[in-house]
């Protein structure tokens, strides 16, 4: 597993370096100015962007024979898939760290950037939820449809993730009275459903991958 994680890390590293530089420059600007919408955009970009990068490079293994070669290594197919999900989670955490740092600096410099601190939590939960739903949809599609359709699967999974989040938020808002309970319910439902989807997606992807031939 250690080798697979290193493999995934190296795969994302080059893109992640570029994206990190972009995020640092953008972060300095976002922290310097007082803009709620900019901060929301930054947090979402950080949370989703890094994990999107991680998913985007999955196809690179199939440009070379490495995807096939990996199956001849002393690892199980389950480990290969597990490492993909762990890698996705790792880069989500990196994104969360960027977003959290810039939000923290902004708060330190200008005070709480939202009406209530709870909104910050909402923003982070939304970002994590989009990233997890995206991963949950992308990985099965990627192994089912093949690496050559990587880009379209990425777009589909990202749009679906955003769509699912919007539906959940709308349904929760419709079913509950406006207020703190409604927000908390929304957060719990978003977190739980995205985490569940991410976890359940693993056996689905594995069952697809176990039948794949290279």
């Amino acid at each position: 597993m250690k080798g697979l994680m290193k493999n995934n890390f190296y795969a994302v590293l080059a893109n992640a370096k570029v994206f990190s530089i972009f995020m640092i420059i953008l972060g300095i600007f976002v922290a310097a100015v007082i803009s709620q919408s900019l901060l929301i955009g930054y947090v979402m970009t950080g949370m989703v962007g890094f994990s999107l990068n991680a998913a985007a490079v999955a196809k690179n293994e199939y440009v070379s024979k490495w995807g096939k070669y990996k199956l001849t290594l002393p690892v199980r197919r389950a480990d290969i898939i597990k490492s993909m999900y762990l890698n996705h989670s790792f880069w989500l955490l990196i994104g969360a760290a960027f977003s959290g740092t810039v939000t923290g600096i902004s708060w330190f410099l200008h005070g709480c950037p939202f009406d209530i601190p709870m909104d910050i939590l909402t923003m982070f939960v939304l970002g994590i939820s989009i990233s997890l739903f995206m991963g949950a949809i992308f990985f099965p599609l990627f192994y089912l449809g093949g690496a050559e359709r990587n880009e379209v699967f990425l777009i589909i999974s990202l749009l679906c993730a955003i769509g699912i989040d919007l539906v959940i938020v709308t349904v929760v808002n419709d079913l509950t009275e406006p207020g703190i309970t409604s927000i908390l319910t929304g957060l719990v439902v978003l977190s739980a459903s995205s985490l569940l989807a991410f976890v359940l997606s693993y056996p689905l992807t594995l069952s697809i991958f176990k039948r794949k031939e290279y």
Partner: protein, 288 residues
């Protein structure tokens, strides 16, 4: 246990293709190099895919080190090194990054041995693989395949794209590898001259079927091609003919025992046969 690798009646069909692997049976004894020869699309890579479980066979058994290898048998894959034709590794890696990844995958990964191969092969460790030539990437793949001390090497067209000097170095390396009695190599190659140099046995595959397995000794000392006229060909006993091919003014006939054939059929000319010629006769020729 005499064989490091045994395939019995292995079959695989592909619903979207006419090609199928049909009842493939052959074995690779310990301490030997076995050549695996066939034209493009004959089924060499598919067979190797079945051996390594990258392709899931429909029927038959494949035993490595005396037992069948499933996805869970990671310990067995510790003893196998593989080299595919072309780019085995992501081009954005360096050789040193490859070593770091492999170190986390193989329990017996030998970093110093890998470094020794990099030095011997003049491969820059810090340069990205995408800047390597084809020969360099093949050498790197071979270094990676050898650096975890495997017992079985499976090489799928590993010498193609290499110049003759480089190929010769590789072949020496292969011969050195099988000096250990429990080491073996399955060498799939188009370059039949390589096989003539190093292989102990040669297995011919055509259209997904094994058509012949022959030891190199038999190939050199027994097998022959008879150059016959039409009348001489008609006089041959069908049981002596493995395959024949009509040319403009003669018929080439592959026989399993050249000396015996010369004794039996006085006027025919018997030539020693190369792997290339056997392949051509078996693939393009006709059988009785």
């Amino acid at each position: 246990m005499e064989n490091i690798l045994e395939l019995h009646h292995v079959s695989k069909t592909f619903p979207k293709s006419d090609f199928k692997l049909d009842d493939v049976t052959f074995s690779l004894p310990y301490g030997t190099i076995s050549g695996f020869v066939g034209e493009n699309g004959a089924g060499k890579t598919t067979t190797i895919g079945c051996i390594m479980n990258t392709i899931i066979k429909d029927r038959g058994t494949i035993k490595l080190f005396g037992r069948e290898m499933g996805d869970e048998d990671t310990d067995m894959r510790e003893d196998i090194g593989i080299v595919y034709d072309g780019d085995n590794f992501p081009s954005y890696w360096t050789a040193l990054q490859l070593s770091q990844v492999m170190e986390g995958l193989y329990t017996r990964w030998d970093r110093s041995l890998f470094q020794k191969y990099l030095d011997d092969f003049c491969l820059p460790g810090r340069q990205k693989i995408k800047h390597y030539s084809k020969g360099m990437t093949m050498k790197l793949a071979l270094a990676a395949a050898l650096s975890h001390h495997p017992k079985l090497l499976i090489l799928d067209e590993a010498t193609s794209g290499l110049d003759p000097v480089m190929r010769d170095d590789m072949l020496d390396l292969f011969l050195g590898f099988v000096q250990e009695e429990d080491h073996s190599i399955l060498l799939s190659s188009h370059i039949t001259s390589d096989l003539e140099k190093v292989a102990d046995h040669i297995t011919f595959i055509h259209n997904g079927r094994i058509i012949m397995t022959v030891s190199k000794n038999d190939l050199v000392y027994r097998y022959a091609v008879l150059r016959c006229k039409e009348s001489q060909f008609r006089a041959l006993a069908p049981s002596d003919i493995l395959a024949y091919r009509k040319r403009d003014f003669q018929i080439d006939v592959l026989v399993p025992d050249g000396k015996e054939a010369v004794r039996k059929y006085k006027d025919v000319i018997a030539d020693h046969v190369s792997v290339d010629e056997i392949m051509l006769l078996l693939v393009k020729g006709e059988r009785i």
